[in-house]
């Protein structure tokens, strides 16, 4: 495979793969949620195992900085904390996850690996569009099939 230029802007279809969208019933606690949401990225070689542990460490230190709005979190750490290659994964947890007493319960867990602060812009654009449309967020929380979630997200890119 050709070496990818780090500053190159990647398209959403390169950054979100259908097999990295998952649906589960529940998690034990928020730490479990962090690990489970990052598992597809770990399995795919996009992050090192220490990445999830660093997210947990940063959460204890800073609070759940990745809860974007009601029902949506963007689990991530800094590139040097174990990211290998930019990629997004999505896990829908039907039983809401509570990260701390002041944050919103979350069912949609996005997990992000980024190599720098800007080259994953297509993912962020999609995420921002998605989060700002409550009907889309509600539609995803109702999904039972990963393929339906994938389609809603891909449509959010436009």
């Amino acid at each position: 495979m050709q070496e990818e230029n780090k500053t190159e802007v990647a398209s959403l279809s390169d950054l979100l793969k259908p097999e990295n969208v998952r649906v589960i019933d529940g998690v034990r606690d928020w730490k479990d949620a962090v690990r489970i949401s990052l598992k597809p990225l770990e399995d795919g070689g996009y992050v090192e195992p220490r990445y999830a542990e660093n997210v947990i460490k940063d959460t204890i230190e800073l609070g759940p900085y990745y809860v974007l709005t009601d029902d949506v979190a963007l689990i991530h750490a800094r590139p040097e904390e174990g990211a290998i290659k930019k990629q997004l994964a999505v896990t829908l947890v039907h039983q809401p996850v509570v990260f701390n007493e002041t944050s919103f319960p979350v069912r949609i867990l996005f997990a992000l690996a980024a190599e720098d602060s800007t080259s994953h812009i297509e993912v962020i654009k999609m995420l921002a569009n998605f989060c700002m449309d409550e009907s889309r967020v509600a539609a995803v929380t109702e999904c039972t099939e990963p393929s339906d979630i994938y389609q809603i997200l891909i449509n959010s890119a436009e």
Binding site: L68, L74, H76, A114, M132
Partner: protein, 98 residues
């Protein structure tokens, strides 16, 4: 032109999404802005390039300690255009931009 910096822990996820929401909210208000994003450790050095700083409410204690010389807006929902608009409007009015 109003310069706004969105801040989060890692400086590439939540703050980047917040940047997009601020850009859309300000476009709707008709305010010309230049928005960027960074992390909580870099904001001290970058604040000279900002007129307003936006960050998550979870960073309030951390950011207040920095005594930034510009208005800081603390957001419960980083991507909520309504909250962003409500909290930025009085500041923009004070600055004479609205």
């Amino acid at each position: 032109m109003v310069r706004i910096i969105a801040v989060c822990g890692a400086g590439l996820g939540s703050s980047f999404a917040c940047q997009m929401a601020i850009e859309q909210a300000m476009q709707a208000l008709g305010v010309e802005v230049k928005v960027s994003h960074t992390d909580t450790t870099s904001i001290g050095a970058l604040v000279s390039k900002a007129d307003i700083v936006c960050c998550g409410s979870n960073f309030r204690k951390l950011v207040e300690k920095k005594n930034l010389p510009v208005p800081v807006v603390y957001l419960d929902r980083l991507v909520d255009k309504k909250e962003i608009t409500e909290k930025l409007t009085p500041i923009l009015k004070d600055m004479g931009k609205l």
